[in-house]
Symmetry: C2
Subunit: 415 residues, 2 copies
Amino acid sequence: MATFPDAAAIAAMDAQDPLRRFRDHFVLNEGEVYLDGNSLGVAPRAAYAELDLAARQEWGGDQIRSWNKAGWFDLPLALGHRIGRLIGAAPGQTIVADTTSINIYKALHAAIGLRPGRTTILAEAGSFPTDLYMAQGVVSTIPGAVLKLEGVDGPSIEQLLDDNVAVVLLNHVNYRTGLLHDMAAMTAKIHAAGALVVWDLCHTAGALEVTLDAARADFAVGCSYKYLNGGPGAPAFIYVAERHLPHARQPLSGWWGHARPFAFETGYEGAEGIRRFQCGTQPILSLRAMKASLDLWDEVDMAELRTKSLALTDLFIQLVEGRCTGLGLTLDTPRTHPLRGSQIALRHENAYAVMQALIERGVIGDFRAPDTLRFGFTPLYIGFADVARAVAVLEDILRTETWKEARFAVRGAVT
Amino acid sequence: MATFPDAAAIAAMDAQDPLRRFRDHFVLNEGEVYLDGNSLGVAPRAAYAELDLAARQEWGGDQIRSWNKAGWFDLPLALGHRIGRLIGAAPGQTIVADTTSINIYKALHAAIGLRPGRTTILAEAGSFPTDLYMAQGVVSTIPGAVLKLEGVDGPSIEQLLDDNVAVVLLNHVNYRTGLLHDMAAMTAKIHAAGALVVWDLCHTAGALEVTLDAARADFAVGCSYKYLNGGPGAPAFIYVAERHLPHARQPLSGWWGHARPFAFETGYEGAEGIRRFQCGTQPILSLRAMKASLDLWDEVDMAELRTKSLALTDLFIQLVEGRCTGLGLTLDTPRTHPLRGSQIALRHENAYAVMQALIERGVIGDFRAPDTLRFGFTPLYIGFADVARAVAVLEDILRTETWKEARFAVRGAVT
């Protein structure tokens, strides 16, 4: 059996953690280890007061005046700028609006428009499904357009790249396995083939350093309710590289993307810059909760975040391999740091029941069919002792087979 | 000068108002008359507690578990059912999702798909602009499709209806003038020409009785943050008539519209029924605020609402005409009840400055370029004494010309 850190060594890791102070700013349940922040990030404590202010003073008190007085008009751009720093985007290229799905639609349409004569969209068969569904929606609106999938139509993106490919839609981190793409290298290969790339950052924004500008990315989309703690269903973001902004067009051309939204003109004329990727009025209360979270994120050093994220997942792998050998688990996430996001997937033939047992014991992860136990490690509020506790509970469940008694529950229900 | 009700008569109107009890359930500022509920409805008092519950217990406490435990999954459909009652829609045809703009895109695409071979969209040049911009976006994705406008390409919708028209997009109430269409009659004319109709209910949902099913409407969209008091930027709704649901398709085919969203399949297969008109994850906190409002709306008799709405706008017209004769105002809203929504437009050559002066004096309406003063009458929380007070202030401003001293402010700012 491999050696692994003892309790004292783990306590020392927490004591030396430069991000440790952030933990107190989040709401965590006593006695639980929340490893599902890659699905829904926990609440920043400040979000409650921010929401209360937005509801009572802004909506209730100032009413319509808050569009100016409280800065509601500028929230999508202001929040987008702040997310931009976290994903390596200079200001003016990122805006908060709509959902990830809808932003994929905008980005794919814009990319295809920038590559006239090319009609293929490439994506990974293992993408988060909505990416593929939205690509299918885009294809349905463009005569001759086709969607080709890595793993179905060919073994790899590289081998599918030909001079008919307009755009490649890639998940920066795979939602299931945690596999991380080399953004700069993949972007360069795609550009060499004359195509553009749309990066889906749902599992990387707030999880690790992203360098969109430096990697010469074309478009990116992502959600704010996972690692970024924006709140349940908080609006998503979209990034368009500055060099594309003068020419990029998208068909969800609502009044918020108009050059002069309050001139009430009959004809659409897109605003300059990233504002053109807005469409309609955004849910202000949800945006205000997100603001509370970004107030914290403004202070985060993304290199420190990545260092801690890798240390957390390293420790988890080390402890699982040290303590759970022979208990039916298979690691489905790369060991190599440059290939790993901030989550770990373990496969087990009874993954569903094991996850139910874990949740009953206060270790909150999630299950992905057919056989994946998925654990997200959010460096701002998960510590090294949490990792050790999660593995201890997992080991106990597997050794004593208490997962066999876990209550049956439907569709990930955790009643 | 015409005679008009005195203070005692107006007090009697309030005393006899069967909807009077609702007023106490909303947050109103002492000393103000809020006639901008057609732009942003005021906050229901219960929304604060609902938001607090959603933030602290559901997001903060139960975290990911709230998708099941708090019913987050079903909120779009549950809220849609409740809005459905207010717009004359039997259950299963209305869902809350995204923005009005995006729902217009879905509805127009679906309608065109149901009328193969037809490529014209008709709309009114006087539509709320985003309707036209979204129609232009739809046209940009369909080869050969054209948008024709009443008032630009022809004098009336009826005269533009030909056998190439696939769909007509109509504003049930005009956002500027308050002109109300006869939904059943217009729908019948459009159907007689073989086309479908999309009704934009932004200025009618919660403002008056709407009878979508009875009028044989095909599609409808609308917002929840005006008369419905859903909160700033609260998500919109979309209605699809049951007879179209088996065949209607829309290209924003995200995972929330999938038949089995948690099976994580590669290919899109639309859910049965109205769920197919969903796309991505909705902003839960904003939906929860909307729930607080719909708890009140569930108790509202829509016939009573319409009766009061007309009485309020009748009184406003009567008082303005009685007290402000010769002061430069022109009524821009129909006097005839069946042609009037729940708002009144007055034109004045210095409308912008007059509105600023009104707002400074606590009468909150809004300005629409170039010369419109717009006043919304929301029957759940505006009373007859409010109407009298608003007209008294308007008269005073016009007679003493204090609007000439109104502070300059940009774009409707009311600092």
